[in-house]
């Protein structure tokens, strides 16, 4: 019973990280029908932006004086930076290729991911090796029903919920959100109704990349470690979660993230030798979905139009 509860907590934690990545991923697909394969590497970019800034802040003595206030400010700074990065990726890479066949754009995002990954490895001092990531979240924990609840995991789950609620608010209650939904339904008509498409897409890229930065930082601070090539795995998990939930669907990405997280944690725990093969199980789940329900759990059935 206790192991089950403990597993439940860790599954919740993994799931919320996957959901964060998946939500960002699904936004690109939903609005401009682009699978951004550099999304996972943007997560890692966030962690590698955080480390020098955190180091500088510690040296300047800001952290120790008012840790409770400084760390959220630093995180928001990183979210801004990754958001700007997302806008830059759109301007430099995606916009010139929007008219080209989708295959070209897809391959370009794959190459962009590679450039981020290898750029980090080459530029960051000793970048080939795993880097110790600072603990940003409160340490310690408390006991409840014989299981240990770490404050850090609780904070991560809480922050994920906050992010998703914020995003939900943006999408459903603000003007920008209405514009996003309109562009996602029909870009031409949206433009005729006076929506600035370019600004909307840039907003999507900024929000998506900021979510990636958030996911990357939470992931790195929980495991205490980050490495240049962690992003490809994280990105593919996020993509898988988005596919399971139904690509382009905001709620579907969250559901898919949770399904994937639970499959992974419980397969690792209950299948003999499972921890070595936990990635294999999640990919098998995705392939099963692609065969039997390609539109995902919440997705609508795709009708091809001539």
């Amino acid at each position: 019973m206790n192991t089950l509860l403990q597993l439940l907590i860790s599954a919740l934690l993994v799931s919320s990280l996957y959901s964060l990545v998946a939500v960002g991923f699904t936004m690109y697909v939903g609005v401009i029908n682009l699978a951004n394969f550099s999304h996972g590497d943007t997560c890692v970019l966030g962690t590698f932006l955080m480390m020098p800034i955190f180091l500088y802040a510690t040296k300047a003595g800001w952290i120790s004086a008012s840790a409770g206030l400084m760390i959220p400010i630093l995180i928001i700074l990183i979210l801004l930076l990754t958001g700007i990065w997302g806008a830059a990726v759109y301007k430099i890479l995606v916009k010139p290729l929007l008219a080209a066949p989708r295959l070209i754009l897809l391959l370009a995002t794959v190459a962009a991911g590679q450039v981020i990954r290898e750029g980090i490895r080459v530029i960051y001092p000793n970048g080939s090796n795993p880097q110790v990531f600072p603990k940003l979240l409160p340490s310690g924990g408390f006991h409840l029903l014989d299981i240990t609840l770490g404050y850090d995991s609780l904070t991560i789950i809480f922050l994920t919920i906050v992010c998703i609620l914020c995003l939900n608010f943006i999408i459903h209650k603000t003007k920008m959100g209405v514009a996003m939904r309109a562009v996602s339904q029909n870009a031409d008509v949206a433009q005729m109704m006076g929506i600035n498409i370019e600004r909307t897409i840039i907003a999507v890229f900024m929000i998506g990349s900021a979510l990636a930065g958030m996911a990357g930082i939470l992931n790195a601070t929980y495991y205490g470690i980050t490495k240049f090539n962690l992003g490809s795995n994280l990105g593919i998990k996020g993509f898988s979660a988005a596919v399971i939930g139904g690509l382009g669907d905001f709620k579907g990405a969250i559901v898919g993230g949770f399904l994937l997280g639970f499959i992974e944690v419980f397969a690792a725990a209950y299948i003999p030798n499972g921890s070595q093969y936990q990635d294999v199980f999640s990919f098998l789940a995705v392939i099963a979905f692609l065969i039997f329900r390609p539109s995902g759990i919440l997705g609508e059935k795709i009708f091809e139009k001539v």
Binding site: V29, A35, A108, V110, E118, V280, F283, L290, P294
Partner: protein, 404 residues
């Protein structure tokens, strides 16, 4: 009337001289790039090649002259090319490492030709291509080390099992969109990598050692040849051996490209629904593109395993997939000659800048990115398929030009 005829003749003789001169320059450049270890020389030659290429692509007169002379002297071109490929390694007797690079380049050409069926001809993104390469290499290595089968059985088995995997990976994506395919191929690449690392019979991270060399009628390729008092390194044997396979792969790819199947592949790429409406069995074509591409990867993997004699999962990870993808994109998607050129450049050039080996993967990523943004068609563009020539005579066929 007379004067125009005279002008035609003069131009004709100029063209006659142009092809050999051009060939000489190109062969000299390639030879210098291959044989010299000095990176400054290599850089200079690469720059010269790039200059030639820019003159070709930017100045219409140069382009017309070169294309036409290449067309009229096809036989000369082919003969000189093959002769150069045969003679060059013999002059590099004292530099076995250079021949090693050439062998790797030939294997890369086979790989890139295989990936071209998927990414280039059919337009299916395959981001886990190295997994098929790995499946081929491991199949061949396991069959020949554990069961003691001969190389010839192993290489055919490697190709077939790899093709089977290609077919299986293609299956889940028949109903879905292109980015699902990208996901499945990445996932397959990662799963293969994890499996190779964790399963017992593949030797785990240590890989497989002591893979025997191929034998031709009992003569092992690991025994060096003595000719005219010179001992040639064993790399020379392997070079000719792999060259035969590369030429075979080239011929087969060209045959498929020119056949109806090649046309169907292109139809699937351009518009799947329209292809379906025109009676193309798109599911079958996609699976076929996967199987053929994977078959070539399997053959290349088997050649690699038996040449190097040692394989480990690290040879077949995501980076390898992206490198092969870079070769296809740089050379020119759906152009067989272009893909060969891309594979050659991207496998030879990095070896010349070994002091910058750390930047190799970054450079691959940047090359793919810049190519896609500024010249998505690659070094050599796709050829328009011209069928009119077969009906109306040869003159019409010559009018088919490159397109953007």
């Amino acid at each position: 009337m007379e004067s125009s005829n005279l002008g035609k003749n003069a131009r004709f003789s100029l063209k006659r001289g142009l092809t050999p001169a051009l060939l000489l320059v190109i062969i000299a450049l390639v030879y210098a790039i291959v044989a010299y270890e000095n990176w400054a020389v290599v850089l200079l030659c690469l720059a010269a090649g790039a200059g030639l290429f820019f003159a070709y692509s930017r100045v219409p007169a140069v382009k017309a002259l070169i294309t036409e002379s290449m067309r009229t002297d096809k036989v000369l071109l082919l003969v000189t090319g093959i002769l150069a490929a045969l003679v060059i390694p013999l002059t590099l007797r004292t530099q076995p490492y250079v021949i090693h690079i050439l062998i790797i380049a030939l294997i890369s050409i086979i790989l890139a030709l295989g990936l071209n069926f998927q990414v280039g001809s059919t337009g299916i993104p395959n981001l886990g291509y190295a997994a098929f390469y790995g499946v081929g290499a491991y199949t061949s290595a396991l069959l020949s080390t554990k069961l003691g089968l001969s190389f010839w059985i192993s290489i055919i088995a490697a190709g077939c099992i790899s093709a089977l995997f290609g077919w299986l990976v293609g299956l889940p994506t028949l109903k879905t969109r292109s980015y699902h395919m990208a996901l499945v191929s990445i996932a397959f690449g990662l799963v293969t990598y994890i499996m190779l690392n964790n399963m017992g019979f593949t030797g785990g991270p240590n890989g497989i050692k002591n893979i025997p060399a191929p034998e031709i009628f009992g003569w092992s390729l690991f025994s060096s040849i003595r000719l005219f008092g010179n001992t040639y390194p064993i790399q020379v044997n392997f070079y000719y051996f792999v060259l035969i396979f590369a030429i075979l792969a080239f011929v087969v790819s060209r045959f498929i490209f020119n056949s109806k199947v090649g046309l169907y592949f292109n139809a699937v790429r351009e518009d799947e629904i329209a292809a379906k409406c025109s009676g193309v069995n798109t599911s079958k074509m996609k699976l076929l593109a996967f199987a053929v591409g994977a078959f070539l990867a399997g053959i290349a993997g088997s050649l690699y395993a038996h040449y190097i004699g040692y394989i480990s999962p690290e040879n077949f990870n995501m980076n390898t997939s992206l490198q092969i993808l870079g070769m296809v994109i740089m050379g020119g998607m759906d152009n067989i000659v272009g893909v060969g050129i891309g594979a050659f450049i991207l496998s030879v050039a990095p070896e010349k800048f070994r002091s910058l080996a750390d930047f190799r993967m970054l450079a691959t990523g940047l090359i793919i990115l810049l190519m896609l943004i500024f010249r998505p068609s690659g070094i050599v563009k796709q050829q328009i398929r011209v069928y009119a020539g077969k009906i109306f005579g040869k003159e019409n066929a010559l009018k088919g030009d490159n397109h953007d």
